[in-house]
């Protein structure tokens, strides 16, 4: 079953391009954000070079989400199910293949973005981080995990909506726009969104400096992971029950 899903993924060009785009954009934005933040740093405020170089995932999560959505919505589920009516196994195999592909691509993308970003920061003479610095390895792995979680949320949205357009719109609005427009929200709501909204909380996994107003890295990521699990469970339950 897993091999079947792997063949499906491998036999198309668009998933591969999606992951290549993820990698390229992540490195590019990691470098750009690191450069910009290093230039703006006043030497006094808390400085987190690791997070600066990995913040490209805010943009690249779109590629991860689209990858997850398309893995489900562009497939002809009827012909798959006519050949394999055990639906949970089919969806589990898809989930696994998507998760592994995005995790691997995400880890490589994060590592390269880290190296490029630190080089850019060092070039400006601002304190930079090394791979063995405390929290650096965790943040890089965390960036991969973050992208994986977003891809699975994308896939769950694809299963639940059965529509590429609806799922992509939903995930981008929910994952990206809600946190971006937090400042336009009423005070209490804004504080909740900034601190607890799954994608905002999940990004704490990139941080290597403490922030009293925010969750710690792993608790923050747990909020995102929990959301992913809930959506995936909903996807499995719906997929098992409905007519196709």
């Amino acid at each position: 079953m897993i091999r079947s899903e792997w063949i499906k993924l491998r036999s198309l060009r668009s998933p591969a391009w999606c992951l290549i785009a993820l990698l390229a954009v992540n490195v590019l934005f990691g470098w750009m954000i690191a450069t910009a933040q290093a230039r703006q740093w006043d030497g006094v405020a808390a400085w987190d070079p690791v997070r600066a170089s990995l913040s490209g995932v805010i943009v690249t999560q779109i590629a991860a989400a689209v990858f997850g959505v398309l893995a489900f919505t562009t497939e002809t589920i009827r012909s798959s199910l006519a050949a394999m009516p055990r639906r949970s196994r089919l969806l589990a195999a898809k989930t696994l293949v998507v998760a592994v592909a995005v995790l691997l691509a995400g880890l490589v993308a994060a590592l390269l973005a880290f190296l490029a970003g630190q080089a850019a920061i060092a070039a400006r003479g601002v304190p930079h981080a090394g791979l063995t610095d405390p929290g650096a390895a965790r943040a890089i792995a965390g960036a991969g995990l973050y992208l994986t979680a977003v891809a699975l949320i994308g896939m769950a949205a694809g299963v639940l909506t059965r529509s590429t357009a609806a799922a992509v719109t939903g995930v981008i609005a929910g994952g990206l726009l809600v946190p971006v427009f937090a400042s336009a929200m009423p005070e209490a709501l804004a504080r909740f969104v900034v601190g607890w909204w799954p994608t905002a909380a999940g990004l704490r996994i990139l941080a290597t400096t403490p922030d009293r107003d925010m969750l710690d890295p792993w608790p923050g990521f747990a909020v995102l992971a929990g959301t992913t699990v809930v959506l995936m469970v909903a996807a499995f339950v719906t997929f098992r029950r409905r007519d196709t």
């Binding site: 063949i7 497939e75 199910l81 050949a83 009516p85 196709t244």
Partner: protein
């Protein structure tokens, strides 16, 4: 063998299949017929576990299809030939299906060969013509070497050679002892391919009978008589036959045997140039059998 027992499927207010009970036997080609919207596709979808029955159920060789370990070995299905990813090659499409059922890889090459797509197996399925997609769908159905074949309109879009090929393939598969179930609206083709017919209308069974019995039962046998003798028609009527004149001068005779027609012609000293039995075509019989069940008749 595919057994359908008391199958009912409702979509909200619409009753697509209504208490259908019938059995598709192995070793023959069964034509699954019915007007548009009769419930053929729905029955197949339920048989494959793609849709849930409202009541009743379907058993494939005594098993519940959804619980099979290697489902493609039980039922090979062609539902919608268009349902392939347009950017995936035919070979990759079949390989993925084979892998999902742990079928040996060589099956992919075997079925590609059997449907004649070997040469284009590396091309994206989106570039295939309708007939090529139909062949790819048939290849997918054959992949697991299944005992039951469930084919929804498999010959749509095939060219004359393709249709003849498909007919031969169906006959061959049935000859190997498989249960071949074929839905189609092409009656002339069905007449040549099927041994047995299951006809439904508005989700209910209309008939479950052999092709020959269906053709005989509904239309009384007629004889086409062509003779250059003006008195023959009157003589036949006198002998109790029903005679209709055809525009081309031939007579359509019913109610008497061919030998009687011969004797009367001899007595009349008429030379017969043609004396042949005429059956109603499957199309005629089908239309009269389903007339009351046609939902989407259109204006006349």
């Amino acid at each position: 063998m595919l057994e359908i027992q008391g199958l009912t499927k409702r979509y909200g207010e619409t009753v697509a299949v209504d208490g259908l009970t019938c059995t598709f036997e192995p070793g023959r080609v069964t034509g699954f017929l019915g007007p548009n919207g009769a419930g053929k596709t729905t029955t197949m979808l339920v048989a494959l576990g793609l849709q849930r029955a409202t009541a009743g159920g379907v058993r494939a060789n005594g098993l519940d299809f959804a619980g099979c370990r290697s489902p493609m070995r039980e039922i090979g299905a062609l539902l919608d030939a268009q349902a392939v990813h347009p950017n995936r090659s035919a070979r990759a499409h079949l390989s993925a299906l084979a892998a999902s059922n742990r079928l040996p890889r060589r099956r992919v090459a075997e079925v590609l060969d059997r449907v004649g797509l070997t040469e284009v197996a590396g091309r994206r399925a989106g570039t295939f013509s309708l007939g090529m997609k139909q062949r790819l769908g048939i290849a997918a159905a054959l992949l697991g070497d299944p005992g039951i074949l469930l084919l929804d309109e498999p010959i749509n879009g095939l060219d004359p050679t393709g249709i003849a090929w498909a007919r031969g393939l169906m006959r061959e598969l049935a000859g190997e002892g498989r249960t071949v179930i074929l839905s189609s609206h092409l009656m002339s083709e069905m007449e040549l391919t099927a041994d047995h017919l299951v006809v439904i209308g508005r989700g209910r069974l209309i008939t479950d009978t052999s092709l020959a019995a269906f053709l005989d039962g509904a239309a009384p046998a007629e004889l086409l008589v062509r003779a250059d003798a003006p008195g023959l028609a009157a003589a036949l009527r006198a002998a109790g036959a029903t005679v209709r004149d055809r525009a081309d001068g031939a007579l359509l005779v019913s109610g008497v045997e061919a030998v009687t027609v011969g004797r009367i012609a001899l007595a009349e000293r008429a030379v017969i140039s043609e004396l042949s039995p005429r059956r109603g075509s499957l199309e005629d019989v089908f239309m009269s059998a389903t007339a009351s069940a046609v939902e989407f008749g259109g204006a006349r």
